[in-house]
């Protein structure tokens, strides 16, 4: 198990109350595979510094989790397939 930090930018057209269920749905990938979700920090709407997919706003969320590398890879893959995810970033905070 390794600890990861995941940042996602979601489409701002998404409704505020739809954000948490969507995140939970993704994070079930981690939970079902024996990983732990430690913290979810939703920043909310934020202006993007430049347009992504012609959008100038995004909903930011930062998730701290611990899981196997393969699980995180799968999570990242599924997120990138979803239309309402603009961008993701996975980092290992202990590796610096």
């Amino acid at each position: 198990m390794r600890s990861y930090e995941l940042m996602v930018i979601l489409d701002a057209d998404l409704e505020e109350r739809a954000v948490t269920p969507l995140l939970e749905q993704f994070l079930n990938v981690i939970r079902n595979d024996g990983g732990k979700v430690e913290k979810i920090d939703t920043w909310g709407r934020r202006r993007l510094s430049y347009e992504i997919k012609k959008k100038s706003e995004g909903i930011y969320a930062v998730v701290d989790l611990a899981a196997e590398p393969a699980t995180v890879k799968e999570l990242d893959r599924q997120m990138n397939l979803n239309e309402s995810v603009l961008r993701t970033k996975v980092l290992r905070p202990d590796q610096r």
């Binding site: 510094s49 961008r87 980092l91 610096r96």
Partner: protein, 78 residues
């Protein structure tokens, strides 16, 4: 003949070494903004006064931040 005045640059101490910050967070845009110009370029070490290691950490953090659209790659506002 006037000699070029010997410039005595004030020795800057790296802010990260001084504050004992070991990890430069890419999410902390307020901090990182101090290390980019108004054009969005990363400031040189001779400007920021950072030590080698921390300048590198800052550069990596800025680049990560740019990928997540927290900081601009370029900005035309001057």
């Amino acid at each position: 003949m006037a000699k070029a005045p010997a410039r005595k640059p004030k020795k800057k101490v790296c802010v990260f070494c001084k504050e004992k910050i070991s990890y430069v967070d890419y999410k902390d845009t307020n901090l990182l903004r101090k290390f980019i110009s108004d054009r969005g370029k990363i400031r040189a070490r001779r400007v920021t006064g950072n030590c080698t290691q921390h300048q590198r950490d800052v550069a990596v953090a800025v680049k990560n931040s740019r990928e997540m659209a927290l900081l601009p790659y370029t900005s035309t506002a001057r």
